[in-house]
């Protein structure tokens, strides 16, 4: 009997292992192994052809060259601003879908949020350039409306990059927010209203505390996507974009300096980890709770 049940648990474990195998292979093969390799790369320096030494020189270069850490800080700040803008824009949308509409209209609204994601990111972003470039649709309209004497160049501004980033990230904020707001019992809002609460106070004391895990989850996802985005800043910001992923790309592909690129990659990883940790601390949320929510 005991031996049999033991065999049963063994079988169950084996089955679990088999079910997890694809995910484990993916994690180990595509995330862990390359990162080990990158870590080794980032910590060595070439002293002669095919002769390498252990060194921190790549990391030293980052701090000595103002352009690098300037780009680094700028990328972080822009990503935080983009995340905040996405949250401000996504909240009313999620509220409308979760609380105000029902049935078919609700499915329709949700689909409207989804539709842009059926198109590849490249095409979507190129769509923005068609709209915004000097000879594009929007500048021409501005001239026609008499708001500008000559077609203004709307591309290659920080604001343009932000618009593109927010547009790309919106869905990833809306989905966890809908989940968080849907689970809020309407009678809590009515009860607060009944007890004399006003709109802003109900938002601050009832809605936001309830939705906090969803808000934080959405912010983490959007922040990471934005920080690691390459296409949108490059296409919409051009040479002015100064995005850190561009520096990594340049090191790996243009300069063929894999050691420097690897070091930058790790610095970016450290940055996103640090900011997510700070965000969780500031909002009083625990990572486990946040990830369980959506």
């Amino acid at each position: 009997m005991i031996a049999e049940s033991h065999r049963g648990t063994m079988q169950a474990r084996l089955l679990l292992l088999l079910l997890l195998a694809p995910a484990l292979l993916w994690l180990v093969g595509l995330i862990v192994l390359p990162h080990v390799e990158l870590a080794l790369l980032s910590l060595r320096v070439r002293v002669a052809p095919r002769v390498y030494e252990l060194s921190l020189r790549q990391f030293g270069t980052f701090f000595e060259e103002p352009l690098y850490w300037h780009t680094f800080v700028r990328t972080a700040v822009m990503s935080i601003v983009a995340t905040a803008c996405t949250l401000l824009l996504a909240f009313p949308i999620a509220w409308t879908i979760a609380k105000l509409v029902r049935g078919r209209r609700r499915a329709l609204l949700f689909m409207l949020c989804m539709i842009p994601f059926w198109v590849s990111e490249t095409v979507r972003t190129l769509g923005w350039t068609i709209l915004l470039r000097e000879s594009g649709v929007l500048p021409a309209l501005l001239v026609q409306a008499g708001l500008a004497p000559v077609p203004p160049e709307l591309l290659y501004h920080d604001a343009t990059i932000l618009v593109g980033l927010v547009y790309t990230s919106l869905l990833f904020m809306v989905v966890p927010l809908i989940g968080a707001l849907e689970s809020l019992d309407d009678s809590l809002i009515e009860a607060a209203y009944n007890l004399g609460g006003s709109g802003p106070s109900i938002l601050r004391r009832i809605v936001i505390p309830h939705a906090a895990p969803g808000i934080v989850a959405g912010c983490i996802v959007v922040f990471m996507l934005t920080l690691g985005n390459y296409l949108t800043p490059t296409l919409l910001g051009g040479k002015n974009s100064l995005w850190f992923t561009e520096q990594i790309y340049t090191q790996f592909i243009t300069r063929f300096n894999w050691e420097q690129g690897a070091a930058f990659g790790f610095l970016l990883l450290a940055l996103s980890t640090l900011i997510v940790w700070l965000g969780l601390r500031a909002s009083g949320q625990r990572f486990g709770d946040v990830m369980r929510r959506p």
Partner: protein, 365 residues
């Protein structure tokens, strides 16, 4: 003294359906008023109109002598205890009770004092720091009431707050609610579909059906003198017999059911021979006997076979099948234990005082 709540010809329609039909009533200060009705009768709509969550299509709601037309729910002198209580899970017990006072801008020291006092009065002294999910069902209800009463509303609305509780706790909370209302003296408007809650708690009860009040009165009046067949059937257990009037006098009518049962009852409203009518006899009105001679001689007697025994402590009853008409009738078992040995299939006699049975004209279809 102006009544705390005056509802004047209030109408509410949803699409083509009229949920509340030209309803008027008043609730006196300090009283416990219940609205009793089956689900879908419009009682929740009515309550939500008083609270201000829904606007009436016609008519006027006056609270404490002030018209509530155009007054938002957060500006009404009305507080509500929700069906699932709707305590704020993100706040402690103390913060829940303090919420309304904070919104009014009361000074912090004053809030602390009043919250402490209120929790003391509902028997939860010192529970300020507790989390809502640490409370039992009964304690949660007391917090919900404390949260409302700390604002000293003219009117407290209660939307079936006992509906979600299990039977034992519900019985306990009924008593507690009544005591709280007596202690605070606030006017309570309570809606429920549970007739026992309405009868036990209320000074006055309105029985609601299809958007109208069928009858408004004391629990005793509803029980002993129902004005409509709906009230007779809805309030308390009742046996209903449909048939035609075969003899009519001012004090007594004779009803012959479709299956041939002949019975006498007190008429409610004018009834003439040939009218379609229905009679109601409460289970505790009918008397039971093994020997027909034990029943009072001046009452009609019937014979029946025991169909099933429904033991429920003090509410035990027996289901009989009448010998001639084969109609089923429910009769309460006396508490003396005289029929403790009654068996299914046994033949017994029963009878009732016609003055305690009531007969109504059937509602036209």
């Amino acid at each position: 003294m102006t009544p705390d709540l005056q509802v004047e010809r209030v109408v509410k329609r949803f699409g083509g359906h009229t949920a509340v039909q030209a309803l008027s009533f008043e609730v006196a200060r300090g009283s416990f008023f219940s609205i009793l009705g089956p689900s879908g009768c419009g009682k929740t709509t009515l309550l939500r109109m008083v609270a201000g969550f829904t606007a009436p299509d016609e008519g006027e709601i006056v609270i404490g002598g002030r018209s509530m037309r155009g007054v938002a729910p957060n500006r009404r002198p009305v507080n509500m205890v929700f069906q699932h209580l709707a305590l704020f899970p993100m706040m402690s017990v103390g913060e829940n009770v303090a919420y309304g006072l904070t919104q009014r801008g009361v000074a912090r020291a004053e809030i602390t004092r009043r919250v402490g006092q209120m929790l003391e009065r509902v028997g939860l002294g010192g529970a300020q720091a507790k989390r809502v999910d640490q409370l039992s069902g009964g304690q949660k209800q007391r917090v919900a009431i404390a949260r409302s009463l700390v604002l000293e509303p003219t009117l407290l609305l209660l939307d079936e707050p006992l509906g979600a509780l299990d039977l034992k706790l519900r019985e306990h909370m009924k008593v507690e609610l009544k005591q709280l209302q007596a202690a605070f003296g606030t006017t309570f408007v309570y809606i429920t579909h549970d007739q026992s809650e309405a009868l036990v708690l209320s000074d006055r009860v309105a029985v609601m059906n299809h958007g109208r009040f069928e009858q408004v009165g004391s629990p005793q009046a509803l029980y002993y003198e129902p004005q409509t067949p709906f009230v007779a059937g809805f309030v308390g257990a009742n046996n209903r017999f449909a048939g035609r009037v075969t003899a009519a006098a001012t004090e007594r009518v004779t009803l012959t059911s479709d299956s041939g049962l002949v019975l006498h009852a007190r008429p409610s409203g004018p009834l003439a021979v040939g009218d379609a009518a229905e009679a109601f006899i409460r289970p505790e009105v009918a008397g039971l006997a093994r020997d027909e001679a034990e029943l009072p001689a001046d009452q009609p007697r019937y014979r029946g076979t025991v169909e099933s025994l429904l033991f429920d402590g003090a509410n035990s009853a027996v289901l009989l099948r009448e010998a001639i008409s084969r109609i089923e009738i429910r009769i309460a078992l006396p508490q003396t234990g005289r029929f403790a040995d009654l068996r299914v299939g046994e033949e017994v006699a029963f009878g009732f005082d016609p003055q305690r049975a009531v007969c109504f004209a059937s509602a036209p279809p």
